[in-house]
């Protein structure tokens, strides 16, 4: 009875908007992004996380000679930023993919919430991303994961129709009930598709709690963590460890010992004879699904709620989303690729995350990732930008 450990890392950074985009900018000023901040943050993350982690991953893959495997989902807009400011980082990802031990996962190009609002836009963005992966890495993904692991039955149906074999979701207890996240399931409404779940306890032990001195398990050693994983043997087949790639070096700084932890972890895990690393696609092919996963409601991997409330639900967020998607038709009518691209970049989920007003517990995390002083400020800047975009459409004679 073997157990597969599935690492999947999300690589994403948004295009943040200018904090000084105010009412008077609407009309004369069509430049929305804060290039300086975006570049600075990108370089910081590259230096602290992407490069050292990529180097370590490559070293581990070589060391274990095909036994250590991981998967990435890399959003289209982080790729655009890397292409613009740091193409050498893309080369480094390419070297990883070329080892054959790295799976590339498909997502919406713009890391957007578009499935909630426009199926047509969703299909286009997924297709763009697929093509981008093909051209960058020479692979065609067969696994899909939606932005922030947002998932429901309807999405599974769509993804099955689009020809994917595997989909990822959060192992939410209110959906699983008594069942374990550590098996392969199938979406109740899309039985041809395989579903892999995130084991959020084990994932968050690394992603969120690793350096938390107040956590009873602190400090987390590779031995201890491997023991927890090994405890799954006999009552599980797949352990989905899904997290932001920036966990390594950025959310958990190097001085927390995160890199040393990662470096020895494969050895500790593989010490158990039944344990191996597999990519999500491989694990899905290896294990037969044990049962249906049925979620009519949207679930996600964000906050303790694991629903849409990090991005939607307060009037600011809902109004922003409505406004943005009300421009879909007129923007596409313009047939101007630049304008369409600009609009699409505004669909990135982070813009809605910044306008979240849930301050308690999760609020801390929100604040950490939020470049704006308040959700109200974030919202007003976003709305000002949309107003300018709408005005440009009107100036082109497009009715909106």
């Amino acid at each position: 009875m073997s157990v597969s450990v599935c690492f999947y890392f999300q690589v994403h950074q948004p295009f943040r908007l200018r904090k000084n985009y105010n009412f008077f900018s609407i009309g004369p000023d069509h430049y929305y992004e804060d290039d300086k901040i975006n570049r600075e943050i990108l370089y910081k993350i590259i230096e602290k996380s992407y490069i050292p982690t990529n180097n370590l991953m490559l070293k581990l893959i070589k060391k274990y000679n095909g036994q250590f495997k991981i998967a990435f989902s890399i959003s289209g807009i982080i790729i655009e930023q890397l292409e613009k400011y740091a193409p050498y980082v893309l080369d480094s990802f390419r070297r990883l993919v070329d080892t054959g031990c790295v799976e590339i996962i498909n997502e919406t190009y713009y890391h957007s919430l578009c499935f909630l609002k426009s199926k047509e836009e969703f299909k286009e963005q997924v297709t763009f991303h697929k093509e981008k992966m093909k051209s960058l890495f020479g692979v065609t993904p067969t696994t899909f994961r939606n932005t922030e692991l947002i998932y429901n039955n309807e999405l599974a149906v769509e993804i099955e129709k689009m020809g994917y074999k595997t989909i990822l979701a959060e192992g939410v207890e209110r959906v699983l009930g008594w069942r374990s996240p550590n098996f392969v399931y199938y979406p109740s409404v899309a039985p041809k598709l395989k579903l892999l779940l995130k084991n959020y306890r084990l994932s968050d032990d690394v992603a969120f709690r690793f350096s938390n001195g107040g956590w009873p398990e602190y400090p987390l050693t590779a031995d201890k963590y491997a023991n927890w994983l090994h405890a799954v043997a006999g009552n599980g087949e797949v352990i989905g460890l899904f997290m932001d790639y920036e966990t390594f070096g950025e959310h958990q700084w190097a001085d927390t010992g995160i890199f040393k932890f990662l470096e020895v972890l494969p050895e500790k895990i593989l010490a158990h004879p039944d344990y191996c690393f597999q990519t999500p696609a491989e694990a899905a092919a290896t294990y037969p699904p044990v049962g249906p996963f049925d979620s009519r409601e949207y679930i996600s991997w964000a906050d303790i709620d694991r629903d849409l409330s990090a991005w939607l639900g307060n009037p600011l967020q809902d109004s922003a989303l409505d406004f943005a998607y009300s421009l879909e038709k007129p923007v596409k009518e313009s047939r101007d690729p630049n304008l369409i691209h600009t609009w699409r970049k505004l669909l990135t989920s982070d813009h809605y995350y910044y306008a979240c007003t849930k301050w308690f517990n999760d609020g801390d995390v929100h604040k950490y990732f939020n470049p704006y002083d308040t959700p109200y400020e974030a919202y007003m800047i976003y709305i000002n930008v949309l107003n300018d975009l709408k005005l440009s459409l009107r100036d082109r004679g497009i009715d909106c």
């Binding site: 009309g27 007003m380 107003n387």
Partner: protein
């Protein structure tokens, strides 16, 4: 004539109408040979703005801790002030304002030659003020009263003039020390700011100042009525001096080039606080937008209701028609007036209300609430009850659809010329003379 004047705001330290009014008035007084020493609680050193000597109270404060203690004890006994106090702004609003002030420092070009001074001033101000405009305002007011007494010993003057309740104690102390007549100037009362449920301590301080003054100036008949009826002051002691309007500094702007060519702009400009009625503006805007598309509403300013109103606006789904600008510096403020087509002041209670006059400088129609002092001066503008959002909405539609509606035989400009600060200054001088002749 020499006047020792106590104020709480003066350019470039303005959060609202008080500083603007003090500046407009003192500038004209100074032209009429009144020598003014203007005392602010919180500046270091001394500056000269448009011929007015502005000095800071805090220079005197730290040497005099004993005096301050005595004064505080006295105050508690005499007028029973015990709890924390609040002026025009809540603490958070004031902090927001200070932050904005820091951002827009360059906008304050009243005293260009003192850019350096004012920069260092505002920095020290923001440090010293943290907390002071919130819970600890009482000690601030008390310290200022001590300053009043000390200055009355040192300075040479004929009349004392104190602007609004924060400075009334200082005025009274200066009067006790010197025996010179005291004029208190009521720009707003606690009744205006908070209705009938205002802060009793502030009310008491206001009443104390009014009772101990030789003359009271109110900015409107509306405010005089409040002073007489709510504070029990004899009407003969109260003179009405309407505020004036500064006609300089018109922003040159070509409306044909503005971004919202197809849309009319309806403007609200003021603090976003209960007293100013911004929520009525928003609700009326929503009603208008249900009937009319080619119009945009702009709410300029900051205040403790901002978040609530942004949320309400989002809820109404009018984000593509309703804009918030945040706090604006002088230049942006003028630019916004120049861009706009209609100005609305929906104040719940407005002792005077300078902004409609500022709007009129740009020759645009205005709609004001009946609950404003400035309504006394303007016969041919539309006046609505602040709470009547349906009337406000239909008035907005009427004005936008028929701009001729508000045209009168007299142009805006001619009306405004009659409201020069010079006239107000002359009336104030008459009040001074009255005080002096009585002695």
């Amino acid at each position: 004539m020499k006047v020792l004047m106590f104020g709480w705001e003066f350019p470039p330290y303005i959060s609202g109408g008080l500083g603007t009014a003090c500046f407009g008035l003192t500038k004209q007084l100074s032209k009429k040979n009144v020598a003014i020493t203007f005392v602010l609680p919180k500046i270091k050193g001394e500056i000269n703005n448009a011929g007015i000597r502005v000095i800071g109270g805090q220079n005197y404060v730290y040497e005099e801790m004993e005096e301050i203690k005595k004064s505080a004890e006295f105050l508690e006994k005499e007028i029973r002030v015990s709890s924390s106090l609040r002026p025009y702004l809540s603490f958070s609003t004031y902090k927001e304002y200070l932050d904005q002030l820091k951002k827009t420092e360059g906008e304050f070009n009243f005293i260009k030659e003192q850019v350096e001074t004012s920069k260092s001033l505002s920095r020290s101000q923001s440090i010293d003020f943290s907390g002071d405009y919130g819970d600890d305002l009482l000690s601030e007011v008390t310290r200022f009263a001590v300053v009043g007494r000390l200055l009355a010993k040192k300075e040479d003057f004929d009349v004392i003039h104190a602007h609004d309740w924060m400075t009334f104690l200082a005025g009274v102390e200066a009067k006790r020390q010197s025996g010179k007549p005291l004029v208190v100037h009521v720009h707003a009362t606690e009744i205006d700011r908070s209705g009938e449920n205002g802060n009793q301590d502030i009310f008491n301080l206001e009443k104390y100042g009014m009772e101990n003054a030789d003359k009271i100036i109110t900015v409107s008949h509306r405010t005089k009525d409040i002073v007489v009826n709510k504070y029990g002051i004899h009407p003969d002691k109260v003179s009405v001096v309407h505020n004036g309007v500064d006609l300089d500094e018109i922003y040159q702007y070509d409306k044909n080039n503005r971004p919202f060519k197809r849309d009319k702009i309806v403007l609200y400009l003021g603090r976003i606080t209960m007293q100013k009625g911004p929520d009525y503006f928003l609700e009326a805007a929503n009603l208008v937008l249900q009937r009319k598309k080619n119009v945009r509403f702009v709410m300029a300013g900051s205040g403790d209701m901002t978040r609530k109103l942004i949320t309400r606006m989002a809820d109404l789904r009018i984000a593509d028609r309703f804009h918030f600008t945040g706090f604006l510096g002088k230049t942006e403020r003028e630019k916004l007036f120049a861009m706009s087509d209609l100005y609305v002041m929906p104040s719940v209670s407005e002792p005077f209300g300078i902004t409609p006059l500022e709007a009129m400088r740009y020759n645009m129609p205005i709609i004001i609430s009946k609950q404003s002092g400035v309504a006394e001066l303007l016969d041919n503008v539309i006046k609505v009850d602040f709470w009547d959002i349906h009337k406000l909405a239909s008035s907005i539609v009427d004005v936008l659809e028929e701009p001729g509606l508000t045209e009168t035989t007299e142009s805006n400009w001619e009306i405004l010329k009659k409201m020069d600060w010079g006239f107000a200054a002359q009336k104030v001088i008459n009040v001074y003379s009255e005080c002096l002749s009585r002695r």
